[in-house]
């Protein structure tokens, strides 16, 4: 986790003595933590699909971090944009869903009711719909299924 600290508490403000070069544009990091991100994950996947795919293809070419900085900045900015929109438009339903997730070990199956209200709100306000890719033909989306059979996945 943390590396060995050579000194104790600092009295001055921390100054990074190995900053990025000046020619690399600065990007803000996504400030959302794990539960809100998990809640918004499928919407981020749909909204930012183009940028995410660009980034993954770029990484597939060359795994060097320096190679894909530009695509990475676009991914980050898109995610920030969507989270801002979600908070603005569907803030209450969003909060309800990720707080439910936090109380259930971040398992999606345990929080279908808040998820349903959140999904309808996002669909109305932002036009994004949660679809799980790779669902076999003829099967309805698992999050829409009434009375699903939930059992131990390790059996």
């Amino acid at each position: 986790m943390a590396t060995h600290l050579s000194s104790g508490f600092t009295k001055t403000e921390f100054v990074d003595n190995t900053p990025l070069p000046e020619n690399i544009p600065k990007v803000d990091e996504v400030g959302a933590t794990s539960a809100p991100l998990k809640s918004a994950s499928f919407f981020i996947g749909q909204y930012c699909k183009a940028y995410n795919e660009d980034f993954m293809l770029c990484k597939a070419e060359n795994n060097d971090p320096e190679h894909c900085l530009k695509e990475g900045r676009k991914v980050t900015r898109c995610a920030i944009d969507l989270i801002t929109k979600l908070r603005e438009n569907c803030g209450k339903e969003f909060d309800a869903h990720w707080q439910c997730l936090e109380n259930h070990n971040q398992e999606l199956y345990a929080c279908r009711k808040p998820e349903r209200t959140f999904n309808t709100c996002v669909f109305e306000k932002l036009g994004l719909e949660k679809k799980i890719p790779g669902t076999p033909e003829g099967f309805e989306q698992i999050h829409n299924k009434e009375n699903p059979v939930i059992r131990n996945q390790f059996k």
Binding site: E29, G31, T33, S34, P36, D95, W98, H104
Partner: protein, 77 residues
């Protein structure tokens, strides 16, 4: 012959002891996890996410929906 309740009393006492221990452990876990049920089955991805949460909020169970991370997040650990 009526049910010999005296024989079942030790069972009741032992069951109560298990209950108290279990409840006590769960309660301690609850308070250690920022008054939320504890996480279980935490894999490496979840551990990495919880570490990121700690860098963002100060606690492995702290959550925030801020779109932009605080400035310290770029260099803290």
């Amino acid at each position: 012959m009526p049910v010999p309740f005296e024989a079942l009393l030790p069972f009741g006492i032992i069951a109560a002891m298990f209950t108290v221990t279990g409840t006590g452990l769960t309660t301690v876990r609850y308070f250690a996890n920022d008054r939320k049920p504890g996480r279980f089955n935490v894999d490496t991805f979840d551990k990495a996410m919880m570490e990121r949460d700690r860098r963002l909020t100060g606690s492995t169970r702290g959550q925030s929906t801020e779109p932009v991370a605080p400035a310290a997040f770029a260099t803290n650990r």
